[in-house]
């Protein structure tokens, strides 16, 4: 145990995802030795980010406005919607430059073990958008792992009876992985080769 505020810092850092006790200690001592200006900048960003950043009213991407940059871009197609688990998956899809439509962020994937059912995802919001926007195809880009696949199955069972064309990214993505880790070429190809699974 370190004294007072140093230990507080280590404890706080240790609560971040992917940061174990050892890393927390390393980051803490790095900060203690860093330039005052660098640390100042970090602390300002941390203070501002919670106030300034919110979720897009339409797609639930992170945004600084009511609408995110993608939903607010009039050049993007309103007839295609790509459903992803998390905002970071939007970043992965955008890197491929294949997709020119808009997104919808579910906020996770179905996982009964973690107590996450369809009601805990933004599926009602998706259905509302399908009624309100001139959408012609739903592309499901949940992660290529078991929970992502289950979520895709759930959505296709939900959307197919509405006559809505539903497609899924082609296989070829590393199975069991995250979209985030797929390289652009592979992800781009999976997008090009998407197959219709309902509608």
């Amino acid at each position: 145990m370190y004294e007072g505020v140093v230990q507080d810092l280590i404890d706080e850092l240790g609560r971040l995802p992917g940061v174990g006790p050892k890393s927390a200690q390393r980051i803490a001592f790095h900060l203690l030795q860093a330039d005052r200006a660098d640390v100042q900048r970090l602390s300002e960003v941390l203070a501002v980010v919670k106030d300034k950043v919110r979720f897009c009213d339409l797609c639930f991407n992170v945004s600084e406005d009511t609408l995110c940059r993608i939903c607010g871009d009039s050049r993007r197609s309103v007839s295609l919607i790509c459903v992803v688990e998390e905002p970071k998956d939007i970043m992965a899809m955008e890197r491929t430059r294949e997709f020119r439509g808009r997104y919808h962020v579910l906020g996770g994937a179905i996982s009964p073990i973690d107590g996450i059912g369809p009601d805990d995802l933004r599926i009602t919001e998706l259905m509302r958008r399908l009624g309100a926007e001139p959408i012609e195809e739903v592309i499901i880009a949940t992660n290529p792992n078991l929970n992502g696949e289950a979520t895709a199955t759930y959505l296709s069972r939900l959307l197919s009876p509405l006559g809505m064309p539903v497609s899924r990214l082609a296989s070829g993505l590393p199975v069991g992985g995250d979209l985030e880790y797929a390289d652009e070429v592979t992800l781009g190809r999976a997008f090009e080769g998407r197959r219709l699974i309902g509608g």
Binding site: I110, S111, P112, I113, G115, G117, P118, D119, L146, N147, E149, A150, T153, Y154, R157, V175, G176
Partner: protein, 411 residues
């Protein structure tokens, strides 16, 4: 294939061990508790990513150490391949093939194939269905390593479906269950049907070898049979040895029929009652089930026949002999069975045998001898009665010569 070198670091009782092997028979002799099984357990771990004795990795780590490393050089078709696994309990294991970058542990499956027979295998005959399912699935993976992923996918989907059933039972939310359950039914039926289909085909191929091996070991015409007992409605028990295996589509349909049939009981109990995780391998000797009827010696012969059959199957379809490991087996067999087993395995590419008492192993089988004593492995001094006992070792030689000649152990 054969194991040319084994290196252990922090595995069980071994702080550090490097040992060379040759093709043919090697017998490890040592009193109880000296580390014989520990050594062959490491070989089995490298081949299956699991221990034949314990379900978790913790006991494999030497007391006081944080991780264990098992390394081997395996020779197949004249080419060396090095395999390494770092066992980190509570964290991901790390694996390496050759000198290359790290690979997923799963990717080393198939590089070393073993068939390991140990006293614990008596449970194949006398114990729970889980052990027999594991026997089948391990053999599937040894034949085609991709089944390891299929098996683990099935288990994960099963856990999710069970969690859903349990949640529904506690929350009494039938609408939510009806909404989500079809999704998990679909995925479980798809993976479960593939697994069941693979097991049925395995059984069809394996069954003839089982009857044969039992008769050879016991010198009788016993009518030892294995049959697959399924939890799926409408799938007739598949007679062993007969070619008709239902299609994946038929099995998928049977799984869905099973879900429909068991729905209310599943919700009541909060677990999945249909699928390959509920199936069993039925062992029959003559007209009677082996479990509950076979004598102690017959049960041993049956367990041995299952392992030997697995060996014959792998030998036939992988086109290279697996490494045969016989842990403490000879002590359990009568003289006739010992001699017949020795004859059966004499043409195997490599056999590793452990014994507490050297005389339990038929003398013309014993091959190269190693003494195992307090976690050190040495070559015993030449014994005038045994001619083939020479092998180089890289391990330090025990200094106390009076103990180097194996003596009868007190068991």
């Amino acid at each position: 294939m054969y194991l040319r070198r084994l290196t252990l670091t922090g595995f069980r009782s071994y702080e550090q061990l490097e040992l060379d092997f040759e093709p043919g028979v090697t017998t490890l002799v040592g009193r109880n508790g000296q580390g014989k099984t520990n050594l062959v357990e490491a070989v089995g771990y490298l081949a299956t990513l699991g221990s034949h004795r314990v379900a978790t990795d913790h006991p494999l780590i030497r007391a006081g150490d944080e991780q264990a490393v098992v390394r081997a050089v395996v020779v197949r078709d004249g080419r060396d391949q090095s395999i390494e696994i770092e066992i980190n309990p509570g964290r991901a294991n790390r694996a390496r093939l050759g000198r290359g970058a790290a690979v997923r542990p799963r990717d080393i499956l198939g590089s070393l194939r073993t068939v390991l027979f140990a006293p614990e295998d008596l449970a194949l005959v006398k114990g729970d269905p889980a052990g027999r399912r594991r026997f089948l699935d391990d053999l599937l993976v040894a034949r085609q390593p991709r089944w390891a992923a299929a098996r683990s996918d099935y288990d994960k989907i099963l856990k999710q479906r069970n969690a859903l059933l349990k949640n529904a039972r506690t929350s009494r939310n039938d609408a939510a269950l009806a909404d989500s359950l079809p999704v998990w039914d679909t995925h479980l039926a798809a993976t479960g049907a593939n697994l069941t289909y693979a097991r049925l085909r395995l059984l069809r191929d394996l069954a003839p070898y089982v009857g044969q091996a039992y008769d050879q070991v016991s010198d009788s015409v016993s009518g030892a049979r294995i049959d697959y007992q399924t939890s799926l409605p409408g799938l007739a028990p598949v007679p062993s040895g007969d070619g008709a295996v239902p299609t994946v589509e038929e099995i998928t349909a049977a799984m869905h029929a099973g879900f429909a049939e068991q729905r209310s009981r599943e919700v009541e109990r909060g677990i999945t009652l249909v699928g390959p995780h509920r199936d069993d391998l039925e062992l029959t000797l003559g007209e009677l089930p082996a479990k509950g009827y076979a004598s102690h010696g017959e049960s041993w012969s049956f367990a041995l026949a299952l392992r030997l059959a697995g060996y014959q199957l792998l030998r036939a379809d992988v086109a290279t002999d697996p490494v045969l490991v016989l842990d403490d087996v000879f002590a359990e067999l009568d003289v006739g069975r010992r001699t017949r087993l020795a004859a059966l395995i004499s043409d195997c590419e490599q056999v590793l045998i452990t014994a507490a008492v050297r005389d339990d192993v038929p003398p013309d089988l014993a091959g190269r001898l190693y003494d195992v004593r307090r976690g050190a492995v040495t070559v015993p001094p030449p014994d005038p009665s045994a001619s083939a006992a020479t092998a180089p070792t890289t391990d330090e030689v025990e200094s106390d010569p009076s103990d180097a000649t194996p003596t009868r152990a007190i068991s």
